[in-house]
């Protein structure tokens, strides 16, 4: 039988506050174990949490950037469970009254746009990290690093409206892009600041009611997410085709083996015994605060894409590439605002520039050529001061030496020759040197045009303006 795949995603992302959500410890990554801790985040007897206002501000930004309704009153709850990396024995999270409800974002898969609902957004504190002694050569012991404990997170829960692994991936890429644009999170997957769990189920086509779902955890790259969902889809389809039932459970993805395996069943699932956190009063966000924050949300990727197509007349594909990362979009826009023709800028950035950066594993933020300098090169191309071919040489030089385009062109004498008098002289010399070919051309062998242009370019060391050369040759030989 054929089944329809149903996916809902839960994304945990670290907000980019300098300090933790309930104390003033640093959130800096890569510190030595337990360096970023204090009595509050260690949950020592007698301590109390105090909400980091900046974390709340970021959560509001995340809500606004995903079209979610910011709740004027929300509340923290205690989520109770025992684990050594959870020092209080409960996690402070939001359950009954989250900060954001009813949002959405738009994705595109195979040229089709689709709106995916966001059920809720809530704030919570991260837990610590267990380090088992085996990994340190001290077997039989386990260690705990509480540096992550109390790092501010938001959890973004999607509606079960994704219908393929590709859609899930597109949703995550779009969500990450939005959160980066809105300046909520750096969404660094390696550092764990963007994590995803997937709820996956199958149902026969046409059936309205959802099938039994499994929750997939430990999906720490876009590729793994896609692979895990694909694996899980096959696994569930096999079970259903054998007339058996999928068991509701939590499964972990093993990226080495490319499989998912059971972590705990529904029966073993925790009863978290949520109740309102008595140490924190309800969070009140007035509409003035919401509007003030809304005014600081920048143009988001989807709006930007639409504007690029409309305003810069570049293809949708180009707009998509250029807006995927905010820094890249800024680079492009800076080039254009310096006077480069958008299409030139877009072609060059997507082609030569990104190619060169990729080769060195660099991002646009590490680009050695500032946008303002790059724009100068584009303008020289646009004015036909240099040819595209020469521009490539100049670009390489700019990249490695950091010199401005003008200077490189001056130093190397690369300016394109557009002086008609000089070009006529050059053309005449080439015609005089090749009387046989000239005769053939006059008799209608048009193909020889390439030969003459080539000769002129060679004689000019590539600096002749090819369009003008073309025109002059035609004039002289017809």
């Amino acid at each position: 039988m054929d089944y329809e795949l149903v996916i809902g995603l839960e994304v945990h992302t670290q907000m980019k506050t300098k300090t933790k959500i309930f104390c003033s410890c640093s959130t800096a990554f890569g510190r030595s174990p337990n360096e970023n801790t204090c009595p509050v985040c260690l949950g020592l007897p007698g301590v109390l949490p105090v909400l980091n206002k900046q974390a709340l501000e970021y959560a509001i930004r995340a809500c606004l950037a995903t079209h979610s309704e910011v709740q004027e009153i929300s509340q923290f709850d205690r989520k109770n469970y025992f684990y050594p990396d959870l020092p209080k024995g409960y996690q402070i999270s939001q359950f009954a009254l989250p900060i954001g409800l009813r949002g959405h974002l738009d994705i595109q898969v195979d040229g089709v746009q689709k709106r995916i609902g966001i059920t809720r957004i809530h704030m919570e504190e991260d837990a610590g990290k267990l380090i088992h002694g085996e990994n340190l050569g001290v077997s039989g012991k386990s260690y705990i690093d509480f540096n992550r404990t109390g790092v501010p997170l938001i959890e973004i829960v999607s509606e079960p409206e994704l219908r393929s692994a590709e859609e899930a991936k597109a949703y995550l890429i779009e969500l990450r892009s939005i959160l980066q644009y809105a300046d909520v999170s750096d969404c660094n997957m390696e550092e764990g600041s963007f994590r995803c769990d997937a709820n996956v189920s199958l149902r026969p086509w046409g059936q309205e009611e959802f099938g039994t779902r499994t929750e997939l955890k430990n999906l720490n790259s876009f590729r793994f997410i896609q692979k895990a969902i694909e694996y899980e889809t096959d696994r569930q389809a096999k079970i259903l085709n054998q007339g058996e039932k999928v068991i509701q459970e939590t499964r972990l993805y093993d990226s080495d083996k490319g499989i998912t395996f059971s972590m705990r069943s529904k029966e073993e699932a925790h009863d978290y015994r949520y109740f309102p956190e008595p140490d924190l009063p309800p969070i009140v966000v007035n509409s003035e605060w919401i509007e003030r924050t809304r005014s600081t949300i920048p143009e988001l990727p989807e709006e930007k894409r639409q504007r690029y197509v409309a305003e810069f007349k570049i293809p949708e594909y180009d707009a998509g590439v250029l807006t995927a990362e905010q820094d890249l979009a800024h680079y492009f826009e800076n080039c254009v605002s310096e006077g480069a023709i958008p299409k030139t800028a877009s072609n060059w950035i997507m082609g030569d520039l990104l190619g060169r950066l990729n080769k060195e594993g660099l991002g646009i933020s590490n680009c050695p050529i500032p946008a303002i300098a790059m724009a100068e090169l584009f303008k020289l191309i646009d004015k036909q001061t240099i040819s595209g071919k020469i521009a490539k040489t100049v670009f390489e030089d700019m990249y490695s030496t950091g010199k401005p385009a003008e200077q490189i062109i001056q130093e190397k004498g690369l300016v394109q020759i557009s002086d008609t008098g000089a070009l006529e002289k050059l053309v005449q010399e080439v015609i005089d040197a090749n009387p046989g070919q000239a005769e053939e051309f006059r008799n209608g062998k048009d193909k020889l045009m390439g030969f003459f242009v080539g000769q002129v370019m060679k004689a000019s060391k590539g600096q002749a303006n090819p369009e003008l050369v073309n025109k002059i040759i035609k004039e002289k030989l017809t």
């Binding site: 260690l42 007897p45 007698g46 105090v50 909400l51 009863d271 109740f275």
Partner: protein, 510 residues
């Protein structure tokens, strides 16, 4: 000090040096805060001498009453010397040089804070509670940590892992609880004043049993930062003193908004000592009919009614009020308090600090053995109760219902305070009970807090002051309750009462 589980410092019952510290007929350990500050400022004695007098008193009688879990002699002596230096420089601070005791669930940097529990027996706090910081800033000398029911769960100190404290008025009776140690220390003059904490009556009931003044401020009036939590929405730190005037001084020092406690209130802080001086003429005292029913000891009732007459003679008007949901208060309290406690006590898991069972093979074993061995019976009972009422399928019937009842009780007070300025009632249904009298029946024990619990559920301030004695010579306490953040009225009425009566001037003969 009980059972010799107290670790570092053992108490030395010796020294008849206290005789040395008689200054023109002043017995130093009997001083109130007011008198001590006056004497210190007038250089009648030094803080070092006063502190020594307190320790001498402790050395003499602690063996009989066991008020303290441990003493902080070195720290106290240092603080006393510092205070003497400041006094010599002409410095004036509200508690400069005054020896104060702390209930052993208030964290003071570098001192053990056991909460009366085996599970925290070795816990040394690396930080100061906000109230401790404020006491230190006010010049107080911190002399020791007092005994208590484990995690504040109890009404007699019989639930302390360190053993029970004895009522100085009758050593065969409990001092009440959970702040029993603080009440004993104040009553037996083993300190000038103390701090306790009150979740369902833990300041007021022992104050009533030991014949002292005990004030539970409005929820949010005093920072809870550094108070080891039992039930976060009910816990409040407050003074336990020899007089109402002393409670006002203590409250002035410890109250006020604390950025480290989000539930501490941003409200104006009046000068509570100033408030004492105004008279009470024309104010209305409400007597809630539900508090004078069959469960009330006749002698206690008589004392309370007599106290009401006294207040009337001071120009107050007596009115009848009703707090109709009193009968649900105990049940509501045990749902709300236990639910919060079940989460608050989860951190004691043997992983990071405190007791860890050594006989465990797996993580799950370590958790259950540590908590099985580390917690006492009553604490485990309340954790189980709290876990149950929060469990899926029971939450609505218990926790949510409890919250609704809490709102009704809050409304009761709001309505009652439309008719009066202060409510007067017994603090406890009977005077101090005997050891083991109620330990076999938790419900009987719970009912000893029946009159105090409502103030915690409603968040209003409550105070117990001595108002008489039983025929067997046990103190009886009068409870006064006022509107949210109206401690001024409580203190004023209490002070005027004490200006016109002498119950607070009686000491146990120890």
């Amino acid at each position: 000090m009980a059972r010799n589980r107290t670790g570092s410092e053992s108490l030395n019952v010796s020294s008849a040096r206290s005789q040395r510290f008689l200054f023109s007929n002043i017995i130093m350990h009997r001083l109130t805060i007011e008198q001590a500050v006056e004497g210190l400022q007038a250089r009648k004695f030094s803080s070092a001498e006063l502190t020594q007098a307190i320790y001498d008193r402790i050395d003499k009688i602690e063996g009989s009453v066991s008020a303290y879990i441990h003493l902080t002699r070195e720290m106290a002596q240092q603080q006393a010397q510092d205070a003497d230096r400041l006094i010599a420089q002409g410095e004036k601070k509200p508690l400069l040089g005054v020896p104060i005791a702390l209930k052993d669930l208030i964290c003071a940097q570098g001192t053990r804070t056991t909460c009366g529990s085996k599970i925290l027996n070795d816990f040394v706090s690396p930080y100061d509670a906000t109230v401790v910081r404020r006491l230190k800033d006010a010049g107080a000398v911190l002399i020791g940590k007092t005994n208590m029911d484990e995690f504040g769960m109890g009404s007699s100190t019989e639930n302390s892992w360190h053993g029970t404290s004895k009522n100085p008025w009758n050593l065969e009776r409990t001092p009440g609880g959970s702040s029993g140690g603080s009440a004993v220390a104040v009553s037996a003059n083993e300190c000038i004043a103390a701090l306790g904490s009150d979740t369902g009556g833990s300041i007021r009931q022992p104050a009533s049993f030991c014949g002292i003044t005990g004030l539970k401020p409005t929820y949010g009036r005093v920072s809870r930062f550094g108070l080891i939590a039992y039930a976060s929405s009910l816990d409040q730190i407050g003074p336990m003193t020899k007089t109402v005037a002393d409670s006002a001084i203590m409250l002035n020092v410890i109250c006020g908004k604390d950025p480290k406690d989000s539930t501490s209130a941003e409200v104006a802080v009046p000068d509570f000592s100033q408030a004492l001086r105004q008279d009470v003429k024309g104010m209305r005292v409400g007597l809630p009919s539900e508090y004078f029913t069959s469960g009330l000891d006749p002698e206690v009732e008589e004392s309370i009614r007599k106290s009401a007459k006294t207040l009337e003679s001071l120009g107050m008007e007596i009115v009848d009020v009703s707090l109709p949901h009193l009968e649900y208060a105990v049940a509501c309290y045990y749902i709300v308090a236990c639910a919060e406690a079940s989460a608050n006590l989860s951190r004691y898991d043997g992983v990071k600090y405190g007791y860890r069972s050594e006989r465990s093979e797996t993580l799950m074993d370590m958790y259950s053995n540590t908590r099985e061995e580390g917690f006492g019976k009553e604490v485990k009972r309340r954790i189980l109760l709290g876990t149950f009422v929060l469990s899926s399928g029971y939450y609505d019937a218990y926790y949510l219902k409890g919250q609704k009842v809490r709102t009704l009780i809050k409304n009761d007070f709001e309505n009652a305070f439309k008719q009066c300025d202060v409510i007067a009632s017994p603090t406890a249904p009977a005077p101090a009970f005997k050891f083991n009298e109620k330990t076999g029946d938790p419900l009987q024990m719970y009912l000893s807090d029946i009159y105090t619990i409502s103030a915690n559920l409603a968040g209003v301030p409550g105070m117990s002051i001595p108002c008489g004695q039983s025929s067997t010579g046990l103190p009886i306490g009068l409870q006064l309750m006022a509107k949210h953040f109206d401690e001024e009225t409580l203190l004023r009425v209490g002070h005027q009462y004490q200006q016109n009566t002498d119950h607070h001037l009686k000491f146990p003969s120890l």
